[in-house]
């Protein structure tokens, strides 16, 4: 049966489709890092690129910025997630926050970063709101609150983006480890709510969120688009510096760039190892603490603090987006006015034709990438169920590979391959490069609901004589429509947010809302940045709204069809 053959080879095809470019890209980056790159005359292995890398001015400062922002952001996001969930467990606030997390995850990093820049800069909205009546400032203070020398603005932006992701991943994990029962037992033994969660739930749930946490760590250490907006530039964090070297007109710098890209990978690997060591140390200390039997108080302070912080992050992100929207309709807005002097749609009108074309590119790329990813993932999950397989831990690591390997560490090698294959700067290269990052997220979103579907529905249909394919189309698909559309929206949002892959695979010919917004952020006009950042945030939000709204009429139609005439 050919159909069957196709389905059972899907997992292999899927893995190849998104692992091969990563592996090949890594090889294509490591070889030049050791001087082997025949196109540029490098035909023997040498350590020269590394020596040159370490002789680059400002490298130590770049590394310092990378490590501060990456480690600090991950640690803060993790602690905040844990303490918030522990202190507020079962509360109404968690439900409310949970509803807000999906849209926050959907908003691309660059839009969040621009929003924060509009808010926090010395001439930003926050200072404008309190000046000059409270501060006495008629001119912005000469203090670096963004692009600050310790990359704290970047760290904050990362925390804003990563807490929602970690919260959702942890909430999903809580259901798997039967947190309620653990808590009930601990509470009945007299433990306070916070301590009960930390002692009885956290050790079990941590195992589940380890991989997402590593992905957060890897991402934070190698982020480029947010760093371009919020981190200092002379010198910038390592990932941005590596990108600059790749773009240097002096082609010999490609060797240094390749070595830098490998260093970026080593830093991520080292940071994950360091984190793992930290885990062991905390586990040792924690075991003694758990055995110590302290019951803890009612956790009121932890609840107030963590709830306040999480709400603060949500408000910060929302206010940033509001600033973006406001700037897009601003005519003139001088410091220190709290609000624009005049509001107009001029900027929108002027940019409508170009913005429409860029939005169309973004939309098509996102839908195609998410659509392909959804088909592959559904195929893999269906194959898994029909053949009674389950995903091993190792396979899960494979799935996370594109999220754990820094983008700059392999995209260069991938680009060289694309040029050799003649697909450089084509739609194929663009969609494929997005697929690498879309696929894992679609899988992570859909796997649980797909596996959780009560298998008795399918079995009943099979017993009634339906073929597996018919069962899939007529039973499973309608029941799983909502999670599938949700996974599609997640995939779409991931695609919209891609900066480096678009840059590398698009070869400058494909402009998406993200590359445009980040490009404009180098200076330019806040009103125009506002237009593109707003569209960039709007598109994924609309996708989520559609994913939530669409199933209702669809399901309704099906029910009506089912009624015999």
């Amino acid at each position: 049966m050919r159909r069957r053959g196709l389905l059972s080879s899907l997992p292999a095809i899927t893995l190849a489709a998104f692992l091969a470019p990563v592996v090949a890209g890594l090889i294509g980056t490591w070889l030049p890092a050791f001087g082997f790159f025949p196109t540029l005359g490098g035909e023997s292995l040498t350590l020269a690129p590394w020596r040159e890398l370490f002789a680059q001015p400002g490298l130590a400062e770049s590394l310092r910025l990378t490590l501060i922002s990456g480690l600090l952001a991950t640690l803060l996001a993790f602690l905040l997630t844990v303490f918030f969930l522990a202190a507020c467990h079962g509360g109404r606030l968690i439900l409310a926050v949970r509803g807000l997390m999906a849209p926050l995850i959907a908003v691309p990093h660059a839009a969040v970063a621009l929003g924060l820049a509009f808010l926090l800069a010395p001439s930003g909205w926050l200072v404008r709101l309190v000046s000059p009546w409270a501060t006495g400032w008629d001119l912005p203070p000469d203090v670096a609150t963004v692009q600050d020398p310790n990359a704290l603005a970047l760290t904050l932006a990362l925390v804003v983006k990563e807490v929602p992701f970690l919260l959702l991943m942890t909430l999903a994990a809580l259901e798997q480890v039967r947190a309620e029962e653990r808590l009930a037992v601990a509470r009945s033994l007299g433990y306070g709510p916070l301590v009960a969660w930390l002692k009885a739930v956290l050790p079990a749930v941590y195992r589940q969120i380890r991989l997402p946490l590593y992905a957060v760590l890897a991402f934070s250490l190698s982020v480029v688009d947010m760093a371009l907006i919020l981190a200092p530039l002379t010198p910038p964090p390592l990932a941005v510096q590596v990108l600059r070297w790749f773009n240097d007109p002096d082609l010999s710098m490609r060797f240094v760039a390749a070595a830098g890209a490998c260093l970026q990978l080593l830093i991520v690997v080292g940071a994950i190892a360091l984190w793992r060591l930290g885990e062991t140390a905390v586990a040792l200390a924690g075991r003694a603490w758990i055995a110590g039997g302290q019951r803890g108080g009612d956790g009121r302070i932890a609840r107030a603090v963590s709830a306040g912080l999480v709400q603060g992050l949500v408000i910060l992100a929302a206010a940033g987006l509001a600033a973006v929207a406001l700037w897009s309709v601003t005519g003139r807005w001088r410091f220190p006015d709290a609000l624009p002097a005049d509001v107009s749609l001029d900027t929108w009108a002027r940019h409508a034709p170009e913005a429409a074309a860029i939005t169309a590119t973004t939309l098509v790329t996102g839908l195609v990438a998410a659509g392909i990813a959804l088909m592959l993932v559904v195929g893999c999950l269906e194959n898994e169920q029909r053949r009674g397989l389950t995903l091993s831990n190792r396979a899960l690591w494979l799935l996370y590979a594109p999220l754990l390997v820094p983008q700059v560490a392999f995209l260069f090698g991938t680009q060289v391959l694309a040029i050799q294959a003649g697909i450089d700067a084509t739609w194929i290269a663009l969609v494929w490069s997005h697929l690498l990052f879309v696929l894992p997220y679609v899988f992570l979103t859909l796997a649980d609901p797909y596996r959780a579907l009560d298998e008795r529905y399918a079995r009943t249909a099979l017993c009634l004589g339906a073929k597996p394919n018919r069962v899939f189309w007529q039973v499973k698909l309608p029941m799983l429509l909502r999670p599938m559309l949700f996974a599609l929206a997640v995939g779409f949002a991931v695609s919209v947010a891609q900066y480096l892959p678009t840059l590398f695979a698009g070869g400058g010919r494909f402009v998406t809302l993200t590359t445009e917004a980040v490009g404009l952020a180098a200076g330019g006009d806040r009103r125009v940045m506002g237009v593109y950042a707003f569209l960039q945030a709007l598109l994924p939000l609309l996708a989520f709204a559609a994913a939530l709204a669409l199933p209702r009429p669809l399901v309704l139609t099906r029910r009506l069809e089912a009624i015999p005439a």
Binding site: T39, L40, G41, P57, G58, A60, E61, P122, S123, D138, L139, P140, D142, A144, Q147, P149, P232, L233, T234, P235, N247, D248, P249, D250, L251, S252, G331, R332, R334, F335, R350, P353, E354, I419, A425, G507, G508, R509, V511, G519, L520, A522, G523, G524, D525, R526, V528
Partner: protein, 409 residues
């Protein structure tokens, strides 16, 4: 317009590749076809114009050019927005290294200075072609010598002049009473007003140009700057006063000289927000244009330095392996037309000064320029002061690298 160095090593590399037969030098052929032939060959072509995309008004102007090209010549113009012109140079170089002698991805480049010098040196350019363009005859090559000599390098018909630039300093007259009149006075001003001035980080071209202006004023003998760098000792001798100057200037800059704006537009935003009082511009009408576009306050004016400021011309060039060389020539010709030049010079659009000679235009064409508003912040031509010549590109390469070593760490 944005430029970056293209150092020796890559040139050696390319030369090596050439001798190894990996790639041949471009067949540098003079364009001999008639204009009619070129125009008809251009029909239906798509021209990928790689041009710095950091300024919204310039992007809008390029989009307008695209509309005109479609209507008048059936040529589709695509603006590939660069953050740095060197990216396009690097792409063409990479394409030749890969043996791609035709069908290249870049058709037209906005260029000047050392990027042009490097491409010319490497035979990466198409042409000479400017003699084939009818509008080239209108260019003011007599009184604007930089339309034929780009940063001391003769253009030899390999790039078509597009616009003129002259260094000037927009400032907010509501906050500044007395403006500096020389580079040394800039230091005095900055010491009296700490934190109120900055310049973009090189290799952003405005930052590099500020450094070159300082180099010219501070160097022991500026005549040598017109020649290529001779030796490390010479560089050391000529640039020492520059570094001593910057060491004193930086602590008095915005953010204490710890960080710098990324480019001209970022710096303009700082002036508008009131974070600095003086900025740098390469376009005498930019401030007026920005006021008209509500990007700067009405109180902004411009000043120049007593002993003159650096001026140059920016061009468009065609890579040797352009996929649509004919289309690119039609665009280049249109860019030099009185109509396109007049729209470009209008401060309400872009405000970039024309390369054309008014004496070579018809009365009707002259009228297009005479009716243009000067703009509230623009100095009239007789107050723009003397024009200083750009140093040889090798000087800029050296001071940019040294700047990175000293201040970007």
């Amino acid at each position: 317009m944005i430029r970056r160095r293209l150092p020796l090593f890559s040139m050696l590399l390319a030369a090596l590749a050439t001798t190894l037969g990996l790639s041949g030098p471009a067949e540098g052929g003079t364009e001999t076809r008639s204009w009619q032939e070129i125009v008809s060959a251009a029909k239906g072509q798509t021209v990928y114009w790689n041009a710095w995309g950091g300024d919204e008004r310039i992007n809008a102007y390029i989009a307008w050019v695209g509309d005109q090209m479609r209507e008048e010549y059936d040529v589709t113009l695509k603006h590939v927005k660069l953050s740095d012109t060197a990216d396009a140079v690097s792409r063409v170089l990479a394409e030749r290294a890969a043996g791609k002698k035709e069908g290249g991805s870049v058709d037209l480049i906005w260029i000047n200075g050392e990027n042009f010098a490097a491409m010319k040196e490497q035979h990466l350019l198409y042409g000479p072609f400017t003699q084939a363009l009818p509008n080239f005859r209108l260019v003011d090559v007599e009184d604007k010598p930089s339309t034929l000599v780009d940063f001391t390098v003769p253009t030899d018909g390999l790039e078509a002049p597009w616009g003129m630039a002259k260094l000037n300093f927009p400032y907010d007259s509501a906050r500044v009473d007395e403006t500096p009149r020389s580079i040394p006075e800039f230091l005095e001003w900055a010491e009296a007003h700490p934190g109120r001035f900055t310049y973009p980080a090189p290799p952003a071209f405005l930052g590099s140009t500020f450094l070159k202006q300082a180099l010219i004023e501070l160097a022991p003998d500026r005549a040598f700057l017109q020649q290529p760098v001779e030796s490390d000792a010479q560089v050391e001798q000529f640039t020492r006063p520059l570094w001593e100057y910057l060491d004193k200037l930086h602590p008095n800059l915005w953010r204490g000289g710890e960080t710098f704006p990324s480019g001209g537009p970022a710096q303009r935003q700082l002036l508008d927000d009131g974070e600095v009082d003086i900025t740098i511009s390469f376009n005498p009408a930019e401030a007026s244009s920005a006021i008209a576009n509500k990007l700067l306050p009405e109180t902004v004016r411009t000043f120049v330095l007593d002993k003159g400021t650096i001026g140059n011309t920016h061009f468009v060039a065609i890579p040797f392996n352009a996929n649509a060389a004919e289309g690119a020539m039609v665009v280049a010709n249109f860019l030099m037309s009185p109509k396109a030049q007049a729209v470009k010079q209008n401060p309400e659009a872009w405000g970039d000064p024309t390369v054309l000679a008014m004496t070579k235009l018809t009365a009707g064409e002259r009228h297009l320029f005479e009716t243009l508003p000067l703009g509230v912040a623009t100095l009239p031509p007789d107050e723009l002061g003397p024009t200083l010549l750009e140093p040889h590109p090798s000087w800029m390469t050296r001071i940019e690298a040294e700047w990175q070593k000293r201040y970007a760490r």
